[in-house]
Point group: C2
Chain length 449, copies 2
């Protein structure tokens, strides 16, 4: 732990009050109570967690404010952070910012700057996607609009069946809406291999009208959305949820001359420095390392965003800490089917150039003589037995993805997956956990007796 | 993978048909279909899993046979193993065995021998512990006796509050019995630190009559047990469950001259060889390595027993595979409180000579805005940040112990626990998982900013 520069009363500007921005701000104030830490956030909330929007839309969560980790007053009063909400940064210059807030434009100075500008919903690039009734859920403010509009709607089209599309389809179908999902790929959750996503596909097909290999060509309507036209059909609807992915918000960083990486996000070092001295980036706007491939990647997820913010905060404060990267670990569900993934799918691994072996097993989640569920688990490794990725769908998925994430983080082999001493308790798992059975099956493919 | 000796038609004798014995037998027949693999088991079952006994006693499991992983016919017919049940080995000599079975004594020859003789309930060494109505649950046959006797009993005393004592107390109280637990230590689950076992203690005290720091001095009764006398009180009862630990069955191994380790179990190499050539040991009768301390240990649990059997089978078959050791990972519950542990408790770590730091946190298991539970988590590390052990009690314990076991297996640090990229999904966990919060708290104690 090398102390580089402790400074006195430095001014830190943070653009974006989401997970990364608020984690960084909190860390800096903890390490330097005397520093002036300013956060500029466009929305009326900070520490907003859009992962909760589907639960707000479905009515499981009562108030939109509940989706924020903390109140603004907590950050201001308890942590001493100078939080500006409804504050739009309109220019970033060397050592200064210009901000529109409260109807006025103001100028602030900074010694150190953090881009925590997040990501936004990717556009479809079709006609009329700005029509009323066409919404995304990247911002929690939109949660309120979706919920209000859903009350008046009968038919909803969800475009995209990544995890946001799947979660929104559940939320809306739980409200009794007629839901159509349009997916341009052949299967839902395109990040997954089909051996595992097929479990979700079956359940989706039972509950919503899901169309694969279908491309949206236009959105139509007069004052508001009325129908979606695809290359195969058309769908009347009162509301559209756009869930076709996201793109990093890097415009302000570009303006300052910060280098953008090949992924389209801001290039960073392990200490989350950008190409400009005293300028950092963290969270969904920034690149990181994919721990499995060892190369730069863009992984816009809540867990790495929070930790990148934390690490950026430590480094901005003049200490040294490295962010090791992420695994794109994810977990979601559709009704009673959980699904999770960590590391690479087999198709991603092959695309990256790995010579893969893999196994997919279906197993009971608990000991056979107790109430039970099914889990389908796929494990991918290279020909030296190095673990590349794990996916699972069914019941009790989280615990397996927890163990698998840890194994991947520690660059483990199939043998490690076999021998890691996971505990056994009849109601919770099996003495030969599905992870261990999968490892044992891969032993054969590696010539291990 | 070095092939040492593939032999032809070798004879392998395995003493004990539990987890280790049947895993080894299955592996050997898979690698050498032509070898003669004999298993000698005293009980009328093989691949019996005593972990299930509490679920049989409580009535959750209907038939005692359901507690066996497979039927005997499966091992005989599908796997080609020569299984002898109700077969008591009375002498082990160099290259031969004498066995009592079907009322006769027979002699068998072996080229390779595996001790998989398991463990038995430890005695209390008090008067009259052989009285009728005094039972242990180390053998599944006893499950039937306990269930039958429980039907006629009103009051049961459980001696010991390790995980078997706690599980049996739940099973019997679910049957409406008046249950007293007598524990000589100050708290239940003495393997745990009190910060975590206190959560179980509270629940135990709500449901059963639990007495701590009380030593049994005698068991009394005429034809059958009538009362227990302790150093502080006496308890009338119709039935007693002995759950004061276990001891390895090493008598036959000693007879052959096999070296016994300091733990009292059979000394083994990583390949599960004993001190005598062609003689192996696996499962609850054998020593292994404690992965955290790196020293020999005796860890009689189902998961290592199965894997030791597997590894012994590979080595007996003439291939090479090492068993890396175990972490004493365990998981159990008492009513709705789950409890788990992997690695060392703080008191164990201190006893072993580690200079420890630790933290205990109480947290919600899921995101605050969704239905939630509480978890209490303790993490122990050394002063260099090397992880030594994790314990948890409350809800959603298994997934945290899964991740923690994997971290310990890979000899991880607190920093690894912080950065391992565990996935987030609001109903399942928190964006800052309790494991990550604990790691972050330990950073302070290590001087990490």
């Amino acid at each position: 732990m090398l102390i580089i520069n402790l400074g006195i009363g430095l001014k830190v500007a943070i653009i974006g009050g989401g997970a990364a921005g608020m984690s960084a701000a909190s860390r800096i104030k903890r390490l330097h109570a005397d520093w002036d830490v300013m956060v500029f956030e466009r929305a009326p909330y900070v520490s907003h967690a859009p992962c909760g929007v589907p639960f707000y839309v479905s009515g499981m969560v009562g108030r939109i404010e509940d989706l924020c980790a903390y109140d603004i007053s907590h950050f201001k009063e308890d942590r001493g952070i100078d939080v500006h909400i409804r504050a739009k940064v309109v220019e970033v210059g060397d050592g200064f910012l210009r901000v529109e807030e409260g109807g006025k434009e103001r100028r602030y100075e900074w010694d150190k700057l953090l881009f925590a500008t997040g990501a936004r919903a990717a556009p479809l690039n079709v006609k009329c996607e700005e029509l009323d009734g066409v919404l995304c859920v990247h911002y929690i403010e939109n949660g309120e609009r979706v919920r209000r509009l859903a009350e008046k709607s009968e038919s909803v089209v969800v475009i995209g069946s990544g995890y946001i599309g799947v979660e929104m389809a559940e939320a809306l179908s739980r409200l009794g809406k007629k839901v159509v999902i349009l997916e341009k790929e052949k299967h839902p959750l395109p990040d997954f291999d089909y051996e595992v996503s097929s479990i979700i596909q079956q359940k989706l097909q039972q509950i919503v009208d899901v169309r694969f290999s279908e491309n949206v060509v236009a959105i139509e309507g007069k004052d508001r959305v009325e129908r979606i036209i695809t290359d195969r059909d058309e769908y009347r609807c009162d509301m559209v949820i756009m869930a076709v992915g996201s793109i990093p918000n890097v415009e302000l960083a570009k303006e300052l001359g910060v280098e953008i990486g090949n992924t389209g996000a801001i290039k960073t070092t392990k200490r989350l420095e950008t190409s400009i001295e005293n300028v950092y980036a963290a969270g969904d706007c920034a690149e990181t390392t994919n721990i499995v491939t060892g190369t730069e990647d863009w992984i816009p997820l809540a867990v790495p965003a929070n930790k990148m913010g934390y690490v950026a905060g430590v480094n901005i404060s003049g200490y040294e800490m490295e962010f090791p990267g992420a695994l794109r670990s994810q977990l979601t569900s559709f009704y009673d089917i959980e699904i999770g993934k960590t590391g690479l799918s087999e198709k991603e691994a092959i695309k990256f150039g790995f010579d893969t072996i893999s196994v997919t097993i279906s197993a009971k989640t608990s000991t056979k003589y107790l109430p039970n569920g099914n889990i389908t688990l796929k494990v991918i490794a290279d020909k030296d037995g190095k673990l590349l990725g794990v996916q699972a769908a069914g019941k009790k998925v989280a615990m397996r993805i927890y163990a698998a994430s840890t194994l991947l983080y520690k660059k483990s082999t199939i043998s490690d997956m076999f021998f890691a001493d996971l505990p056994y308790y009849p109601p919770e798992n099996r003495v030969w956990d599905p992870l261990v059975v999968a490892a044992r099956t891969l032993f054969r493919k590696l010539g291990i007796p």
